[in-house]
Symmetry: C2
Subunit: 221 residues, 2 copies
DNA sequence: CAACTTATCAAGTGATCTATTGAATAGCAA
DNA sequence: TTGCTATTCAATAGATCACTTGATAAGTTG
């Protein structure tokens, strides 16, 4: 007996998750969580907002089912609620970028000059033949939480100091948080300034991981 | 030169699309548009809200890049902005249903008793051997805008009158707008009440279409 | 042209959302 | 117990949003 009330309840419940994605601050937190689970004040510092505000946003996302939390002694660690949520976030981001002209402008301004990039397939092939070095330029904690197999960690701010660690005879491929993270762009520019051939990976760790672990896209009705 | 201002602009632009998904009314409109493009007052009637309000919601979604519009004489026809948007909507719906316990309750209340369902693969196999009849129980206009190959259109309110059209010796499979549309459930109940063996397809037309036309899931960075 | 349909705009009100502030709580360590 | 830290709660003011109403614009038809 299909009643209007229940039908609305369904859309309202879905809209709850939509609301979770409707604030730039929350999206920034979600983006950070896509790299690694983190504690509240850590997220607050990383996103430059007050702890109380961060906590409230996280609770909103928790209510929407976007994130999960676990107590760890005196602090609370938040993580994405699952790979489906990561998929959703990437889908939203991609659709938005594809459709909204403003976003592309914003991205270009933010990333600076475009640097040469390399795709997933080519990277895999070149890794196999061993004629490149893959470098993860994200902060060390994010590398530790997960990284591409065969990558070595050199956070962006240590790059100049550790140039000697990189074999001089091989091209460097840098990757970071994703296509809208400036780290890899910046790393490539600095490497080239130091006379090293370098490119950036067109995607970041979350996209790579999702592609590597073919998550259940099956739809159980 | 990564500046904070631009980074925020990026998230703000994406949040714009999030806001487009943050209202139950808009989601209802989106769900209708997933079936077929429609005119404003048509959508207003179908969703039971004022024309002005519908127009405003549609404009909000247009600004977010979720829908496109074309003038048609005196009226304006809105449609989904592309298959990526359909993907996004289905992803949001699925994640929400998987995560939010409330939604499942709402869905159960709304759909009534569960009826036996059939999956995509089995349907394809049974269609090939020809021992079932596939029936589209949505309104005729939606059937006309697109339907599963081999289906015949029998809108739900004509079902009883047209029982004779269905061969008595074959099982009937009914489908409608999607797993949360009550039409197929109701159709199966009525068919069984009339002594016909019947099941519902576990998914609806939008899901089927998206699976049939493997849309570009590739991510251009 | 006038009458009519369809869609959009503009303004106003009540509701909801956001960020801030300061207080309250939970866990840990002396 | 008393401090200390990390997080959450509660109250607030300001911003934004949703829906209504009545006017306006665009397009069709007589």
């Amino acid at each position: 007996m299909p009643s209007e009330g229940n039908k609305n309840a369904l859309f309202e419940a879905i809209a709850l998750m939509g609301k979770g994605l409707a604030s730039p601050r929350r999206l920034e937190l979600l983006d950070l969580l896509a790299q690694a689970p983190r504690r509240v004040d850590d997220l607050a510092r990383a996103s430059g907002q007050s702890t109380a505000n961060t906590s409230q946003h996280l609770q909103a996302m928790h209510a929407a089912g976007l994130v999960t939390r676990t107590r760890e002694g005196t602090s609370v660690r938040y993580s994405l609620a699952g790979d489906e949520v990561l998929s959703l976030w990437l889908a939203l981001r991609d659709v938005s970028v594809a459709r909204l002209a403003e976003v592309e402008c914003a991205a270009r301004d933010y990333l600076g000059d475009e640097v040469e990039s390399i795709g997933r397939e080519e990277l895999i092939a070149r890794l196999r033949t061993g004629d490149i070095v893959l470098v993860d330029v994200r902060p060390a904690e994010e590398f530790q939480a997960g990284h591409i197999n065969g990558a070595r960690s050199i956070p962006l701010d240590e790059l100049e100091d550790r140039l000697a660690d990189l074999p001089a005879d091989r091209e460097v491929v840098a990757y970071c948080r994703g296509p809208f993270c400036a780290y890899a762009h910046e790393a490539v520019r600095r490497l080239q300034a130091a006379g090293r051939p370098a490119r950036r990976l067109a995607e970041g760790w979350p996209e790579w991981r999702l592609a590597a672990e073919p998550t259940k896209r099956t739809r159980a009705a």
